[in-house]
């Protein structure tokens, strides 16, 4: 597939012009850095505080990754189990959609109550917030396999497990990756909120402290760190998706 060079750089162009506009607007309207710091101020604050930000970023990255990984394993397993059985799918699907519409951050206080403030509630929140989109998507991917493809396997006398392995799982990969890209950003939301509510470490906590001391540029620097991590993971999963599920977009891999 050939893309014109303009289409390739268009997203980068959009982002750059967004920041340029932001910078100019702050200068032109004389907006105080206590309200909305300029991008250049944010970047310089980031470098100034980098040694202090680093351990917090590490903590957030750690809790998010542990929670997200657990969420993916649990979500994938549940999704496969539910999607493989018509009965389970029809029974559990409405329930799942219902549960996934509950704001999961509401459970943070419960986790704090059970496990105390700190790392554990953050990990659990990150996990629980990303499980449901994964379950729903994987289950849908497997439950909607074209019967013709299953027939091919059944004419070869394949076992249920072979059908799942060769048809169900590959078929659900595009659904899985679509949910992963959403889930990883949700996981960051989950762990940061848990950190804000009940932790003395992590980017969320750092931002909370910075805002209480009116260090607004540092708050935005924290946001920048989060955004960078989020975009980073999104990109990684997009790349894996291209390799594993590129067939769904009919891209030659």
């Amino acid at each position: 597939m050939t893309q014109s060079p303009l289409r390739k750089i268009a997203p980068a162009l959009l982002i750059i012009s967004f920041f340029v506009l932001w910078e100019m607007a702050c200068l032109v309207f004389g907006i105080s850095h206590l309200v909305l710091p300029r991008p250049t101020q944010i970047v310089s604050t980031f470098f100034e505080y980098a040694p202090a930000i680093w351990p917090h970023a590490q903590q957030t990255l750690y809790t998010t990754m542990v929670g997200f990984s657990a969420g993916v394993v649990i979500g994938l397993t549940l999704g496969v189990l539910i999607g493989s059985s018509k009965l389970a799918y029809e029974t559990a699907y409405p329930l799942l959609v219902g549960i996934s519409s509950i704001p999961k951050v509401a459970v943070v206080p419960i986790f704090v109550l059970w496990f105390g403030a700190g790392t554990v509630p953050a990990i659990l929140t990150a996990a629980i917030i990303c499980i449901f989109p994964i379950v729903v998507n994987v289950a849908t991917g497997i439950a909607t396999v074209e019967p013709e493809l299953e027939d091919v396997m059944r004419s070869l006398k394949a076992t249920k497990l072979e059908i799942l392995w060769n048809i169900g799982l590959p078929r659900s990969m595009p659904y899985f990756f679509a949910s992963l890209k959403v889930a990883v950003t949700l996981s960051f939301v989950g762990s940061v909120i848990a950190e804000t509510v009940a932790s003395n470490r992590g980017v969320g906590n750092m931002m909370l402290i910075a805002s209480s001391s009116f260090n607004v540029p540092l708050v935005f620097a924290g946001l920048m760190v989060l955004a960078t991590m989020g975009i980073g993971f999104y990109t990684v999963f997009s790349l894996i998706e291209r390799r594993v599920a590129g067939w769904a977009m009919r891209k030659a891999v």
Partner: protein, 274 residues
């Protein structure tokens, strides 16, 4: 199961299919008796929607009959299980696999190939797939994705996937429908050679009466839906048959007789009802 020296392969006893179940379902196949001998080459012809694909799905056990029973020889305890190769009417290629991997699929699933698949044989299997793709003229597309193929190319890939594991029972649902006359005749030849060499039991569904008469040893004609077998006759032309056969008077007579059976089925149905 033996009878008159020929070994029975499969027996249908009053096998009927109603899709959707219950009284308001679609009756696709009336209760049918059919016996298939080992090494038969049966062609199944009949109007569209009469239940030909349904019969193939029953034989491949993808579909269970609504009424009646199907018996297979070689299902007894200790018998060597037979291998089934089926080319579905819709090519049904797996979109996440290349043409080569699609054709290789049965080797991953079917015994005895699958036990050796992971070990030493993968390269060997690949050569085997490539040799078959070469034969049907698809070798240049071995690494293509299914959606990059034309309809006829998909059909040929589908045919390869049905043949690669040297099945004892070969089920072909209009395998040559989307091909030009020359490619089709070439593949007729390939299929006939294969049958003479290994003698699998074959059921070929086709709308092309010349194809049926040229390839098969036996032709069953079906009535319009709900399907019944209204004619079952042997084709005696000696093998190997050459493509010039299609111009011979006996051949033309046979094709015309078959044609008459299909055109005249509505009348027979009325007579039956009366």
């Amino acid at each position: 199961m033996k009878e008159n020296g020929t070994e029975k392969f499969m027996v249908f006893e009053g096998v009927g299919v109603t899709y959707g179940g219950g009284a308001d379902g679609t009756e696709a196949l009336k209760p049918t008796d059919l016996t298939l001998s080992k090494g038969d080459f049966l062609a199944l012809v009949g109007p569209s929607g009469c239940g030909k694909s349904t019969i193939l799905k029953l034989v491949s056990e993808v579909l269970a009959p609504t009424t009646g029973n199907i018996f297979f020889a070689g299902r007894e305890l200790g018998a060597t299980p037979f291998r089934v190769g089926m080319a579905f009417q819709s090519a049904s290629l797996l979109p996440w696999m290349t043409v080569r991997d699609n054709v290789m699929l049965p080797l991953k699933i079917v015994k005895p190939f699958k036990t050796e698949f992971r070990a030493k044989r993968k390269g060997e299997y690949r050569d085997r797939v490539d040799a078959l793709l070469e034969k049907v003229g698809l070798i240049d597309f071995a690494d293509s994705n299914p959606w990059e193929l034309s309809g006829g190319m998909m059909q040929r890939t589908n045919l390869c996937r049905a043949l690669i594991h040297e099945p004892d029972l070969l089920l072909l649902d209009e395998p040559f429908g989307a091909l030009d006359q020359f490619t089709r005749e070439e593949l007729w030849q390939t299929l006939q050679d294969l049958w003479i060499e290994r003698r699998p039991t074959v059921i070929l569904v086709t709308h092309d009466l010349r194809e049926a008469a040229y390839l098969a040893s036996r032709i069953c004609v079906m009535s319009p839906r709900p399907g019944r077998i209204v004619d079952d006759s042997a084709v005696e032309f000696p093998r190997p048959r050459h493509i010039d056969l299609v111009f011979e008077p006996d051949f033309v007579t046979l094709v015309q007789r078959l044609r008459g059976k299909i055109v005249h089925t509505p009348n027979t149905r009325k007579l039956d009802a009366a």
